[in-house]
Structure formats: structure tokens, C-alpha cells
């Protein structure tokens, strides 16, 4: 058995959270009969926790939790997630998304998840739209592009409870493979992320392909947050107008990991100037 300790990020930002995830994925390549040890995790970072939930489900990896781990809380539903949100539960749960029983039920679950996140914000004009837009677009991509009819979403309050960290994960075919299969593009993972960011849809319609791009614009410019997309051997981290496209040597993610951090919104916001 190989134990992989899930590291706590050095700093409380998306880049360091991503590095922690990358370190775990590197260890997975080296080992077999893997057990994740979450005992050292003091805070919960969705960008680290949620991809590991997907691996626990897909690869039947084992896991160990410390006695006092917050992940043990019933409200979080670690590691398999829930398809029902309890309004009375304080904790934000991991949600497991699927086409079953219906797309309408899935929409209802996403709606309930957003309502839960909204309870941590100040209820002023436009805030609910600001939460809804990225979540709905990024989750829609799972069911329209990944070729896998399931995915996960999770969120936690972090950074002294002043920010919301949100993560959405699928373990489908990934971006590079989508462009290869749908458009016959032979491009790298990094270039596939570039295609997403210029809005080149894998679908034939020129009028599509705005979901990820407009979400990133809203998060980074409108909400003053930060954004990450990770697929295959590449990741993009964007904060304000600074963007780094990171190429990885080894660790890969089969599918797409999206994560973003937004401050708890207190002022009215109009999201529509950020959309295209």
C-alpha cells in the first residue's frame, strides 16, 4: 500500500492549491494500491479535495481521515457527494452531478447549490446572477463536451472566511481530446486551453464557445477573483488581467478541473457587461 499525504498549500491562493494537487498527482504516477491520507489537512480546499473525490470514485482509491477532520462532517458528504441539498445544513456539500434521473433534476440540484452559496453573500442586486453564471456554464460543459455523464462541484469558505473557493471537476475526455475528436485538431493540452480561451467551440456553431471565457472574465474582472482551468498536462491560472499558462512535465488530469475564488460579494453587481 502506498500512502499519499495530501499536502496543505503553502499559501492560501489558487496557485499554491494547484501545486499541492500537482504533488499528489505526481505521487499517484509513481505508486499503486494508493491510499490518500487527509490527516494533515486543516482547511478544506475544493481544488485539492474534489479531484481526489473523483479519483476515489473512479479508481477505487482508499482514503484516511484524521479523527477531527472537517471532511468527516455529514454535511459535506465526502467523498461520494450528494444529489440533495438540505436547506437546514450549514456545511456546503460536495454535489455529484449526473443526467439521471433527468436534466431537470440536475438543474434543480445546481440551483439549490447556488442558493446555498448565496446564503453566505449579502443579498443585493445581481449577486445571485454572479454566482449562477460561472457555475451553470462550467457545469454545462461537462454534459456537453466531456463525453462522461457525471461530474462534481464543491465550494468552501476560505481565506479567513472572506472568500468562496469553488471547484468543478469531470474525468471525461479532456480538452485536447475534444478538439481532436470534434475538429481534427492535433494540438497540445496548453494549446487546447488556448482554444477554449479564444472561444473556439468544439461545436460547429461559431456562436458558441463563450461559456468558459465569459466566466473567467466575470470572475477575474467583474468579481476581482482568480480562476484556474486544468486539463491534461496544462493549466491556466488567471488573476485580474495576469494569466499564466503552465505546462506540466508529468502529472496529468484526464478530464477538466475548474476552480475559482471570489470574494464574498457585498455590493450590487451587474454581470451582463462582462458577458459576450
Amino acid at each position: 500500500m502506498q500512502k499519499i499525504t495530501v499536502p496543505t498549500p503553502t499559501k492560501d491562493n489558487l496557485t499554491d492549491q494547484f501545486i499541492s494537487l500537482y504533488q499528489v498527482l505526481l505521487e499517484i504516477i509513481k505508486g499503486n494500491d494508493i491510499t490518500f491520507e487527509f490527516s494533515r489537512s486543516e482547511k478544506i480546499y475544493p481544488l485539492i479535495t474534489l479531484p481526489l473525490c473523483a479519483l476515489i470514485r473512479d479508481k477505487s482509491y482508499k482514503y484516511l481521515l484524521a479523527k477531527s477532520s472537517v471532511l468527516k462532517s455529514n454535511g459535506i458528504n465526502f467523498p461520494h457527494g450528494t444529489n440533495k441539498i438540505k436547506a437546514t445544513e450549514y456545511q456546503i456539500p460536495i454535489i455529484f452531478l449526473s443526467n439521471k434521473p433527468t436534466a431537470q433534476a440536475r438543474d434543480q440540484l445546481i440551483g439549490d447549490f447556488v442558493e446555498k452559496l448565496y446564503t453566505f453573500m449579502t443579498p443585493v442586486a445581481g449577486v445571485k446572477d454572479a454566482i449562477f453564471h460561472p457555475i451553470s456554464e462550467l457545469i454545462a460543459n461537462i454534459f456537453e463536451h466531456s463525453h462522461k455523464d457525471e461530474g462534481w462541484a464543491f465550494a468552501q469558505l476560505n481565506s479567513g472566511k472572506k472568500c468562496l473557493d469553488i471547484c468543478i471537476v469531470d474525468s471525461g475526455r479532456g480538452l485536447r481530446e475534444s478538439y481532436k475528436q470534434e475538429k481534427n485538431f492535433n494540438i497540445s493540452d496548453a494549446d487546447a486551453i488556448g482554444q477554449v480561451m479564444i472561444g473556439n467551440s468544439t461545436k460547429l456553431y461559431n456562436e458558441r464557445g463563450y461559456g468558459v471565457r465569459s466566466s473567467k472574465k466575470l470572475i477575474c474582472q467583474g468579481l476581482k477573483g482568480s480562476f484556474l482551468i486544468f486539463s491534461g498536462k496544462a493549466a491556466l491560472i488567471a488573476e485580474s488581467r495576469d494569466e499564466e499558462l503552465i505546462e506540466l512535465d508529468k502529472a496529468i488530469w484526464n478530464g477538466v478541473v475548474l476552480a475559482y475564488r471570489i470574494p464574498l460579494l457585498k455590493e450590487p453587481i451587474n454581470i451582463y457587461p462582462y458577458l459576450e
Binding site: 431537470q104 454534459f143 496548453a190 456562436e207 494569466e243 512535465d249 451582463y272 459576450e276
Partner: protein, 116 residues
């Protein structure tokens, strides 16, 4: 309710998020209506996603150009947010901008960020 008016809030969640919901539920419902002019009442719809708004507009076009079962679809009682989303998507359907020049990230290797 008028026979040519369809109240979306009675049919769909108050937040319309996916294309599937527009295609699988709404389109079939309109198909079954006899009237040639259908008013889609969007009152009590709080949010529509970009994807769902795009699918709604595509559905509208499909009905308007369908020679066998032509129907005119008219949206009514939209909230300001829902109206804004539909207008943005409709404008983009009519003319989408060239976006290529805007993405110029700094390219780095993971080794630049961390020594593992």
C-alpha cells in the same frame, strides 16, 4: 391561461440552466400547442444561463422556419437579468466578434513555480 400562452415557471425550474431542459421539455410542449403564435411567459423565471438562452433562441428559430409546423414565438414578462442575457446571446448570434488577439498568457513550466 390563454391557449397560446405558455408559463415557463409552471414547466421548468425558476433557474433555467441547461440546453437539455429547453430541448427536452419546452420544445415538446410548444410542439403540442395548436396556436401559430405562442407567447412564452417568462415571469417568475429568475435566471437563464447563457447556454439555455442560446438554446431558447435556436428553438425559436426552428419553429419560425419550420415549413411543416411554423409557429411564431414571442417572449413576454422577462426580468431585467433574463432580458439582458437573451439580448446578449441574440446579438452574438447575429454577429460574433473576433476574439483571438485577446488571449496572450505568460507561458511557464511547472518547474518555474515549484521545485519538486
Amino acid at each position: 391561461m390563454n391557449k397560446n400562452t405558455l408559463k415557463l415557471a409552471k414547466l421548468l425550474p425558476k433557474n433555467i440552466l441547461s440546453r437539455d431542459v429547453v430541448r427536452s421539455i419546452l420544445e415538446q410542449e410548444i410542439q403540442a400547442m395548436d396556436s401559430k403564435i405562442i407567447f412564452l411567459d417568462l415571469s417568475k423565471i429568475e435566471f437563464i444561463s447563457r447556454s439555455a438562452a442560446h438554446e431558447l433562441l435556436k428553438m425559436k428559430e426552428r419553429f419560425e422556419y419550420n415549413s411543416n409546423n411554423k409557429k411564431e414565438i414571442i417572449f413576454k414578462d422577462l426580468s431585467p437579468g433574463v432580458a439582458a442575457m437573451i439580448r446578449i446571446v441574440a446579438a452574438n448570434k447575429a454577429y460574433s466578434v473576433n476574439r483571438e488577439a485577446e488571449f496572450k498568457p505568460k507561458r511557464v513550466n511547472i518547474g518555474d513555480l515549484v521545485k519538486i
